[in-house]
Amino acid sequence: MSRLALALAALALAGCDDGRMRIADGPPLVPRTGRPPDQLSHLRLFEWDAGAFRYNDRVVPYDLTTPLFTDYALKERAIYVPEGEAMAYDPAVPFALPVGSAIVKTFYFPRDLRRPDEDLTLIETRVLVHGQDGWTAWPYVWNAEQTEAFLRVGGETRAITFIDAEGSERTASYLVPQRNQCTSCHERNVGPGGAAAMTPIGPAARYLNRDLDYGAGPVNQLAHFAERGMLSGLPDLGGVPRAYDLTEYEARGLDAIAPGELDFAARSYLDINCAHCHDPRGTQGVTSQLFLHHDSTSAFNLGVCKRPGSAGAGTGGLTYDLVPGRPDESILVFRVETTEVGAMMPLLGRSLRHDRGAALVRAWVAAMPPVDCNAMEMEMEEEPPPEP
């Protein structure tokens, strides 16, 4: 944020207390065009009050069955749909939200991940706004006093130290993405004629289909949205798709996954963590021809005995994206395990290894019936090239 704008904001607000707005002041104020206000509180979506998130009416929190990993940050998510309107259920793609809606996600760290409700520090809040001309994304960074977050289009990189689930101290080089970097995950070829367009990722049936306690015991989130009049067209819950819920795995490890569900669990993890790019509609990952969306069926596109496109340092000296039964020979496993800049995947949002996630991908590859990719290639090489 520029100094002049800061100065103007300070001038405009002189005489007020700290310039903060409260959710009690009125309904959310989500702009349908242009740049949103510099202070997050002026959107009146939620407030952070002595360790708790408090929401305005029509702003409803939710969790995902399988979340995207972001350097162990915990995330508080909520969705706002204007009064009198609703998002439209879809079994396959993220729900269509009415213009004027917003999706808000706050990234925060507890001092100790083993006590995730204590000693919390909010880092940033990302706001996806559905304006008249489509979706726009805006990063807000929380101040040291934890009283307000300010629009910071240039983002920030910050060292964050915390105690992990095993009790070890870890330090993330945490990236608050700059505004223009939001496209790297959220822009997909889903616009008219396959054109690139910004789109939400999380609010889709398969990720939302789980329980959350809204104060009166656990209820299905989709049912809750429908009951609030914010979701139309929800079918009987028995017919709603669901991604594997990795909450239990995150807590207990591989013991939490039934043997017959390893593939389902791993594919759900790859879907949310990789398929925003590694999908035929991903603007960045399409050239790799490695497609990791949950309903990708081609063994080649899942990386089996496939040579990478232009992975460069990302290969780790390995030859194939995925060698069944041999995780140590699979580029996919190498790239989710490594923390080497230039090789690790996903491209943005992690400086640390996601231990649980990497272990799941490794176990998935190890459990596949072994294939000798080199032998397959030798067979092909022994055939003479055809006369064109």
């Binding site: 002049l4 289009v153 240039g154 990189t157 700059q178 223009n180 460069g312 290969t315 800049v341 003479p384």
Partner: protein, 458 residues
């Protein structure tokens, strides 16, 4: 009249971004007044990295961003997603964007912007690519240097100057050094001029990949693993065509290959130029000196990926102009293939001191050494894949179905054909034919479909 518009904008820019303390001391060589065609001007004070990131994330279309002299130490990339942007420093040796402390996998400058111009600055130590411009129409790189601190370091970023999936691209008077893949890479682009650049210390110096209508001239490629190369990768919907490499200097490209992986890792040091899986390429008037594996190789894509099915391209997905190419059918219905290399002219080049010591650390170099033994490697090598007739004892029996034209070259060691198809069938000594003038049957002078036309940019 325009002057008053920009000067007003600039005053605002200074205040916004430099707190009115930037002053002209930061902008000794280049300032807002140099860009009367841009409606807006934003100046970023020397060294204000956070101000730079804030500025590029809040741009109006049709804006010039002026960077001051000195170094901006950045931990995130300069991301531009606004059309008609010019970003300029005070000069290649005066303004540096330094990314050595970045901890994310970022590029230096990463732009998607129609009508984008970047000039007069250095990008140093980008974790991935120096200056990547993607999916944009009208792109100019001018007097840019993309480099890394360490020589021949496999952890350096992949590409220096990297326009990809762009149309109407001009790269001129730039320097690209020390990248672990290609220094100056033009990929999947249409209508390109690359002129008067210097590429040195890279694995591949200058690479034209899956690109249509490219004119590459007046460049110096020195001390890379490979100098200037043209090829198609399989599976890419832009079928390369109509590339002119002319009047370039390709000197002493003998740097040991330091690529950490990828296609370029298989290139032997000492390679001047190759055209691989390419069509309608003219390699003329270039100077080749002291490239120790060989100066020019003409190779089928099947040499790199032997499975023809990998080269299938759905006709419905093709991008750009494939008219008149007569691409062969692929292995599946509705597909064509782009592994074939055909319609290549190699003429009027000058060869000196090449092919005396092939790099046997790579398979291709080993093969060449096995074929030539202690003899100097011929200046032009052709793999003959796809020829219907080839007689190891009589060059005139070569059918030349691929229409390879080689002639009028000065110095060097002539043209050689390798019977690679037979080598692939039965492992043994590859059969070699070394032609003597008039290089029958290669003494054609023109391409089917006429000569490659010069490129004009709008």
């Amino acid at each position: 009249m325009r002057t008053s518009v920009w000067s007003f904008s600039c005053v605002v820019g200074v205040c916004l971004l430099a707190g009115c303390d930037g002053g002209s001391a930061d902008f000794p060589n280049v300032d807002c007044g140099d860009f009367p065609a841009r409606a807006n001007c934003v100046r970023v004070a020397s060294g204000d990295a956070a101000g730079l990131l804030d500025a590029v994330n809040a741009l109006e279309p049709n804006t010039v961003v002026i960077l001051g002299s000195g170094t901006y130490v950045l931990d995130n990339q300069v991301t531009i997603r606004t059309p008609q942007i010019t970003i300029t420093g005070q000069g290649m040796m005066d303004t540096t964007l330094a990314f050595g402390t970045a901890t994310s996998q970022i590029n230096g400058i990463d732009a998607v912007s129609n009508g984008f111009v970047v000039q007069d600055l250095t990008v140093l130590d980008a974790p991935k690519d120096g200056i990547r411009v993607e999916n944009s129409v009208g792109v100019t790189y001018r007097r840019i240097r993309a480099t890394w601190t360490n020589e021949a370091d496999s952890t350096n970023g992949a590409y220096g100057i990297y326009p990809v999936r762009c149309e109407n691209v001009l790269v001129e008077d730039c320097v690209a050094e020390r990248s672990s893949d290609a220094g100056l890479y033009v990929g999947q682009c249409i209508n390109v001029i690359v002129r008067n650049n210097v590429v040195r210390g890279n694995v591949a110096g200058l690479e034209i990949e899956n690109t249509q209508f490219a004119d590459v001239y007046g460049n110096l490629a020195e001390n890379n693993t490979a100098g200037i190369v043209v090829f198609d990768l399989p599976g890419n919907p832009v079928v390369g065509r109509d590339v002119r490499l002319r009047d370039n200097r390709i000197l002493s490209n003998n740097l040991a290959n330091f690529a950490p992986g990828g296609t370029v890792a298989i290139i032997p040091a000492g390679t001047g130029t190759f055209a691989l899986a390419s069509r309608r390429v003219e390699i003329t008037g270039n100077t080749y000196t002291n490239n120790q594996t060989g100066d020019i190789a003409i190779l089928s894509g099947l040499v790199v990926d032997t499975d023809p099915a990998v080269w299938d391209l759905a006709e419905a997905d093709l991008i750009g102009d494939v008219s008149g190419l007569g691409l062969p059918a692929g292995t599946m219905p509705g597909t064509v293939a782009n592994f074939r290399t055909e319609n290549i002219v190699v003429a009027n080049n000058t060869h000196t001191d090449g092919g005396l010591s092939p790099d046997v650390s790579r398979e291709f170099g080993l093969l060449i050494r096995a074929v030539f033994g202690e003899r100097p490697v011929s200046s032009v090598l052709y793999d003959t894949i796809g020829e219907s007739m080839f007689d190891p004892n009589d060059a005139s029996m070569n059918s030349n179905d691929n229409r390879i034209c080689a002639g009028g070259n000065t110095g060097g060691n002539g043209v050689a054909s390798l019977d690679v198809p037979r080598q692939l069938v039965s492992i043994g000594s590859p059969i070699l034919v070394i032609d003597t003038a008039p290089f029958a049957p290669f003494d054609c002078t023109s391409l089917n479909g006429g000569p490659v036309a010069p490129v004009t940019l709008p």
